[in-house]
């Protein structure tokens, strides 16, 4: 994978709600509003996983959403980063041990998926932006491996 520095100046984000309670989704919308304005870093919300560089998951993965989560992950072109927003995707949070929940996202995605966590219940918009910064660090590492 040959990456140049341009890549992390223009990250397009696709948002997947894998069964969240909507609190994190609202905080993500807050991150693109004029107060935080992520577009100044070149971060843009897109409507299709085919356009995305970052997949942003909110919520624990419910039984119904499991297949869709995997399918969206496969539809995204390489190179890609997964950003899990909120406690639910990390540990299933308040839905722990629920009969309707398939478990945290890292147990479902393929092993080579790179997952970054932005914790909080719900997350603060600053933490979402911090998660994207972590994605930049990961992409920098990808570049370092090649050179």
């Amino acid at each position: 994978m040959k990456l140049s520095k341009t890549f992390d100046k223009s990250l397009w984000v696709f948002h997947v709600n894998s069964g969240s309670c909507n609190a994190c989704d609202i905080e993500i919308v807050a991150a693109v509003t004029p107060r935080y304005d992520t577009e100044r870093f070149g971060i843009k919300l897109v409507g299709s996983p085919r356009h995305a560089d970052v997949l942003l998951f909110t919520g624990p993965v419910t039984t119904k959403m499991k297949e869709k989560v995997l399918r969206v992950y496969e539809q995204t072109p390489d190179p890609k980063v997964v950003l899990v927003v909120g406690n639910c995707g990390d540990t299933t949070g308040v839905y722990f041990d629920s009969y309707a929940v398939e478990g945290p996202i890292d147990t479902l995605l393929p092993d080579d998926a790179h997952i970054i966590y932005a914790n909080g219940c719900p997350v603060r918009p600053e933490n979402v932006i911090n998660g994207v910064k972590e994605a930049w660090l990961y992409l920098e590492k990808l570049r370092g491996d090649d050179e």
Binding site: P34, E39, R40, G42, G47, S48, R50, H51, P77
Partner: protein, 337 residues
């Protein structure tokens, strides 16, 4: 024979040069558009070179062709859209420069070249085998038949007024000097109709139903990724500059160098001084910025998306009537009633 070969190779080189300039200008103006939009929404906005980064990134990404797609059509559509937009530059007067292919094409050809990117997008959408893209393609075609009516009315009015379809002849004399007060009012109405056509032509809000990301998940482009999406991105920005340059050629073909006392376009290009050319090019770029600001950025920020049937009504109802009234006024002026 040798002369013809030399002439054609010069023409080819010029076309390639103009294409490169068109792509760079398009991406730069897209950067301006995004920055101005962000400032109007009291955001900081991306840097001006953000579109260049986006395109470079898209070319680095993996290009996926879905199993349900028709591969050759799916891959051909973005290239067709880009080529049609780039070829149009060869027939347009750009600033102080005459059209490169002068004498080979006219206003009617330009209207067809304007239509091809939209048709290519619809083709690509239908070929990608996704229900979202199919709905997007249908909307794009509906939108196309809608805005073609005011556009054709405007083209016919210009041809009637100048007795020619040649774009170079039309832009050699500003339209406001050829008519009296009644005709000028008619052309102001046609200008208004064409400003309303511009966002539809460029698939921008309020006429971006075909790629509405909130309802249709990017519509036409839903299955496009990587290089193909990058080519569509470039085609879109090139078309923006092309439509802006067409506006300038039709309505504002003024040159600044005459006003400030440099030998302007009244003499052949070779005899113009370097400063005169530079001033005219800078003035052309400034006019382009104003037109893109009004036709794309301002309208995009001020309005929300129409429903597709209302967009159709908007073009066939009010805008077509405004255009036809404008034509009537120009005809009244010219027949001297």
């Amino acid at each position: 024979m040798v002369d013809a070969v030399v002439e054609w190779s010069i023409m080819l080189a010029l076309v390639l040069l103009v294409s490169a300039i068109g792509i760079i200008l398009g991406l730069a103006y897209k950067g301006f558009d995004r920055k101005i939009t962000a400032m109007m929404q009291s955001r900081i906005g991306p840097p001006l070179r953000q579109p260049f980064r986006d395109v470079k990134k898209l070319f680095m990404k993996e290009t996926i062709i879905p199993d349900s797609a028709v591969p050759w059509l799916f891959n051909a559509a973005p290239i067709l859209a880009l080529v049609a937009s780039l070829v149009a530059f060869a027939y347009l007067p750009l600033g102080p420069f005459e059209p490169i292919m002068e004498g080979y094409g006219d206003l009617i050809l330009l209207l067809y070249l304007l239509a091809i990117p939209a048709v290519a997008m619809a083709m690509g959408g239908l070929a990608s085998g996704s229900p979202y893209a199919t709905v997007g393609a249908q909307r794009e075609l509906v939108l196309m038949i809608s805005y073609e009516l005011p556009l054709a009315v405007a083209a016919v009015t210009f041809a009637y007024n100048y007795n020619t379809f040649s774009i170079a002849e039309i832009s050699s004399q500003p339209v406001w000097n050829t008519v009296g007060i009644v005709g000028a009012m008619g052309f102001i109405l046609i200008l208004a109709a064409l400003v309303a056509v511009m966002p539809g032509e460029l698939s921008k809000v309020p006429f971006d139903q075909a790629e509405a990301e909130t309802e249709l998940a990017e519509g036409l482009f839903v299955e496009y990724s990587g290089r193909n999406l990058g080519i569509f991105y470039i085609a879109e920005v090139v078309k923006m500059v092309f439509v802006g340059a067409l506006f300038i050629a039709l309505f504002f073909p003024y040159q600044l160098s005459n006003f400030i006392g440099l030998a302007g376009p009244t003499v052949p290009l070779i005899e113009m001084g370097l400063w005169a050319v530079l001033v005219d090019v800078a003035f052309f770029l400034f006019k382009l910025l104003i037109i893109i600001y009004i036709g794309v950025s301002l309208i995009r920020v001020a309005f929300a998306r129409f429903q597709i049937d209302r967009a159709n009504y908007f073009y066939w109802g009010p805008m077509a009537i405004i255009g036809l009234v404008g034509t009537l006024l120009v005809v009244l002026e010219n027949t001297g009633i």
